[in-house]
Symmetry: C2
C-alpha cells in the first residue's frame, strides 16, 4: 500500500555526478540491488547518519572517510540491498572494507574515497563476493542519467522509487539539485534502512555543505516517523560537484538562502515520499503543534501523537477519536501542561478546546475529515510561540502483516 | 485473545471491606457496569494515579479527597464503566461530583469520603442519571464476598476478571490482602483505563500506606506496557480496614517487610494479569535488562524494547529476529553505550554478544524459544549493576482490529 499517486518526476542530471546500477543477485535474483555513484574530482561531500548505538559497519566507515576526503580524486559511493551489515561485529567491518577496497582498485582511487552503504536484514553477514562481482556491471552502466535506475536499485520493500529534482537560477547561473531515497525509518524490519543521496552541481565548501546537509536533514528526515524505530543504517549523503561553476558561499547571503531553501525542498520531498510509501500506509498525516514554549517541546508533543499506536489505528479506521489525541498530548514529556490552554483541530475543523469538546464540533464534520487520505492534526498548546510539524502514517493490518510475516 | 489460562483464584474476604455490583445499563444493557465499595470507619486509604496531564475528572476528585479523609465515617468507592469522564472539561467535574453527592447522601457520609472512578470512552459526557439510578442496586448487594462480581463489574473489553489474594501470618495474627484490576494501560482505546483496587484488614497509618502503595505500584503497574499509551484514568487504590487487629508499622521491621512483600506480590499479579489479557495478546513477555548503570537506565532500555512495534510484531510471528532487539537497545535514550559490552538472550539462549551473533547460537534454538507463549528477553548492558524488568505483550492483527474497529 502507499498513499497518493507515485510521482517520480523528471530527474535533472547533475554535471559531474554519474550513477550505475546492476543486478548482482545479492539476495533476490530478479532485483536491481547494487548501485555505484561517482562524483568527479573536486567534489565536496557531507553526510548525516543514524544515532543508533548499534550503527552498521558501513556507517562507521562513512563517518571516518568524511574527514579523509581528497579533492584530486573522484568520490565513490557503493550501495547494496539485501543485507544491512549491522550487528555483524568485527567481521562486518572487514566485509565493508573489502567492498571499498575492490571498488577503489577498479576505480583507481584511494580506498578512503569510497563510501559504503548497506540496507537489508540485520545480523547476517554481507555476501562480499557477490557484491564485488557486481561492481564491473555498475561501472559499465555509469551515466549522468542513471538516477531512475539507481532509485530502483536502492529499493527494498519500497513499493515505488523516490526522487526529487529542482533547478534554480542564481546570479551566477543555473544550479541543479537532484536526489533519491528509499525506505521509511525502520518500518522495514530486515530492510532496516532509510537511505538518501542528493547531488548538486553547485560548488560548496565542505564545512558549509555539512551545515546545509544538517539543516536540511533536521527539517525533513528527522521529522518523519512510521513506528519510532530508529534504524541501524540510516544515512543521507549530499555531494556538490561544483561543475555548474556556481559557488555557494556565506558572503552571498541571497544565493545561499535560495540554494538552502531549494535543498530543503528536495530533502523534504524525499522524506515525505518515504512516509507516503510507509509499510501498510493508507494515510499521509501531518502533526502540526503550535504555541509551544520551544521547538523541542513542540516536536516532543508531535512525536508522541505521531507514534501513538492508538492514534495510528484510529487514523487507519478513519475514526475521529480525538480522545486518543488528547491522551497522547497529556502523556507527552513536557512539564506543567495546563490542559485548559490546549486545542485540537483536524484539517482546520476545531474539535477540542479548554480540555473538552468544542461546542461547534459535530461528529459528522470530524468524520468527513478523517475519511481523507491526507490529514493534518493541529494541536495548539497555548503557552508559547514555537511550532513544529512531524509527518507520519497510520497503523494498518498490513503493517503487522509485513513485519510479522517476514522470515516465517 | 489472552495468554495462558484464566486464573481467578479464591478471593479471601477482607474484614471491614464490602463490595456491591449491579447492571446499571450505563452503556451496554447486558453488562455488570457499576460497582460500589465500602471500607468501614477507621480505614485508611492510599492511591496512585495517572500522570497524564489530561487526567479524568474523577482522578482529580480522588486526589483531592485523599487529604480530606475522616476516620469516623466509612470510606466509599464508586466505579462506572462505559464512559471515562475524561476530556469532558468543567461539565465532567460537575458530573463526577454529582455521583459522589448522590452516594454520600444514600450512605450518610460526607461527600469527601466518596472516591469516584470512571472507565470507558474519552470525551463523551457521563450519563449521571443512569449511574445515580444504579446506586441502590449496588448498596443492596454489598457483601464481603463481593470480590468476584466486582472484578466482572469493572471489566470493559477485558476477556477475563483479574484478582489476587494472599494471607500471611505475622506475629500479631493473620492478615489478608485481596485485590482486583482491569484493563491494560491504554490498549483499550475507548475503555481507556487500568484500574486496581486492593484491600487489607491490616491496620496501616495513612503515610505508611501511601508509601507502600507507591512502592508496590512502582514494581508492578509502572513496569507493564502494551503500547506505551498512558491512559487518562489510571488509578490504583489501597485500603486498610485494620479489622484484623494487626498493626503494620515502621517499628516492627520484620512484619513490615513481610507485609510489603505480600502487597507487592498482589500488585504484581494484578499487573501481570492485565498484560496476559492485553488486547490481541498471544505472548507474555518479560524484558529483563541487567548490568545497567542505574535502574532508570535499565528501565529505559527495557521500555524501548517492550514498546518497539518491530520487536512486538516479531514476537507475534514467533520470529527470533534479534536484530530488532539490538536496534531497539541501540536507540534507547542512554548515553555512550559501548555495543561490544551488550549481550542478548531469549529464555537463557544466548543470541548476540560483542555487537554481533554469538558463536554458539543456532536459528533452530532461537526459533524453539520464540514459539513459546512465555518469553524472557534478557539484555545485559555490561556497564553496571542495576537491573529492571518490564512486562509486555506482542503486537497482533487483533490489536489493530480491536483498536481500529471501534466506533466504525
Amino acid at each position: 500500500m502507499a498513499v497518493g499517486k507515485a510521482t517520480f518526476g523528471v530527474m535533472h542530471p547533475v554535471r559531474g555526478f554519474r550513477l550505475g546500477t546492476t543486478r548482482a543477485r545479492i539476495k533476490y535474483p530478479e532485483r536491481r540491488d547494487l548501485v555505484v555513484m561517482e562524483a568527479a574530482a573536486g567534489s565536496t561531500i557531507a553526510g548525516t547518519f543514524t544515532r543508533n548505538a548499534f550503527c552498521a559497519a558501513p556507517v562507521t566507515l562513512c563517518q571516518h572517510n568524511l574527514s579523509q576526503v581528497r579533492s584530486d580524486q573522484p568520490l565513490w559511493l557503493v550501495i547494496n540491498t539485501g543485507y544491512a551489515n549491522a550487528g555483524t561485529g568485527a567481521r562486518g567491518m572487514a566485509d565493508a572494507r573489502a567492498v571499498c577496497e575492490a571498488l577503489a582498485q577498479q576505480a583507481g582511487v584511494a580506498v578512503s574515497q569510497v563510501f559504503p552503504f548497506s540496507t537489508g536484514v540485520i545480523g547476517e553477514p554481507l555476501p562480499v563476493a557477490r557484491v564485488v562481482d557486481g561492481l564491473p556491471g555498475c561501472l559499465a552502466a555509469l551515466s549522468e542519467t542513471g538516477w531512475d535506475d539507481a532509485a530502483h536499485g536502492i529499493m527494498t520493500t519500497d513499493t515505488r522509487p523516490k526522487g526529487a529534482s529542482v533547478q534554480l537560477k542564481l546570479a551566477g547561473g543555473t544550479v541543479t539539485i537532484s536526489g533519491i531515497s528509499k525506505g521509511a525509518g525502520m518500518i522495514q524490519p530486515n530492510m532496516a534502512t532509510m537511505l538518501g543521496y542528493v547531488a548538486t552541481d553547485a560548488a560548496v565548501a565542505p564545512a558549509l555543505l555539512q551545515r546545509l546537509a544538517r539543516q536540511a536533514t533536521d527539517q525533513s528526515f528527522n521529522v518523519i516517523t512510521v513506528d519510532g524505530d530508529t534504524s541501524t543504517n540510516d544515512s543521507c549523503m549530499l555531494v556538490a560537484t561544483g561543475q555548474s561553476g556556481v559557488q555557494i558561499e556565506e558572503t552571498n547571503q541571497e544565493d545561499l538562502a535560495a540554494f538552502s531553501a531549494a535543498l530543503n525542498e528536495v530533502y523534504l520531498r524525499l522524506a515525505q515520499a518515504i512516509i507516503r510509501d510507509g509499510e501498510g500506509a493508507t494515510k499521509f498525516v501531518a502533526v502540526e503543534v503550535s504555541a509551544a514554549r520551544s521547538q523541542a517541546e513542540a516536536r516532543a508533543v508531535a512525536f508522541t501523537i505521531a507514534n501513538s499506536p492508538l492514534v495510528k489505528t484510529a487514523l487507519f479506521a478513519s475514526d475521529p477519536n480525538w480522545g486518543r489525541i488528547l491522551a497522547a498530548v497529556g502523556r507527552a514529556p513536557i512539564e506543567n501542561l495546563d490542559v485548559n490552554g490546549v486545542s485540537v483541530a483536524l484539517n482546520g475543523v476545531l474539535i477540542a478546546e479548554q480540555g473538552g469538546l468544542a461546542e461547534s464540533y459535530t461528529e459528522a464534520a470530524g468524520s468527513a475529515e478523517m475519511q481523507k487520505e491526507e490529514i493534518q492534526i493541529q494541536v495548539t498548546l497555548g503557552r508559547g510561540e514555537a511550532v513544529a510539524t512531524v509527518w507520519t502514517t497510520d497503523f494498518s493490518y498490513d503493517y503487522v502483516k509485513i513485519n510479522a510475516d517476514y522470515r516465517t
